[in-house]
Amino acid sequence: MRLALDLFTILCVSAGGVFFLAATIGMLRFPDTLTRLHALTKADNLGLGLVVLGLLPRMEGVAEALKLVGIWLLALLAAATVAQLVARAALRETAGQPGGPPR
């Protein structure tokens, strides 16, 4: 049983790491602001979610596990709202320039 839990942790945490890598590559390689924002917000939440999922069996009590999930939910909410605000700021910033949507 212990081995199964460890294996689960290793799998989830490495999957989370892969998503962080995807977020970084997405942020560096994508052509314009909004696509970068999309790549960043999706992947870093999923990355954090998988890391938290992987760490859950390692937690001693239920309270600790709930705290971990709480952190992930807070990060989820924060990133979602922030992505909307930054996207609107980016759109407004480039709406004035001729040539339409940000390139």
Partner: protein, 91 residues
């Protein structure tokens, strides 16, 4: 097991560090803010991994505070960008 978690934390930190390049030559202000946002999330993941690897439950609370501050940083950015300062970029 703890070694794996430390290695994973180092990997996430390196990944986020590579993401900071976007701050250097991000054309738009929003790109620079995004890199800071990724640093916040990456920092939370690293803190959680290290908290479990080194059996320090206090680091979980530090990650909680970092999650809060990352959100505030981005809201401050948006408030600074909007003309009226009210925070609604379309206002």
């Amino acid at each position: 097991m703890a070694e794996f978690l430390v290695v994973a934390a180092a990997f996430v930190l390196l990944t986020v560090g590579a993401g900071l390049v976007r701050i250097l030559h991000g054309p738009a202000e929003a790109d620079r803010m995004m890199a800071a946002q990724l640093l916040g999330s990456g920092g939370i993941a690293v803190l959680l991994l290290l908290a479990v690897a080194m059996e320090r439950p206090a680091a979980v609370d530090v990650a909680l505070v970092l999650a809060l501050l990352a959100a505030f940083a981005a809201v401050a950015f948006v408030k600074g960008r909007s003309p009226s300062g009210a925070g609604d970029p379309e206002a």
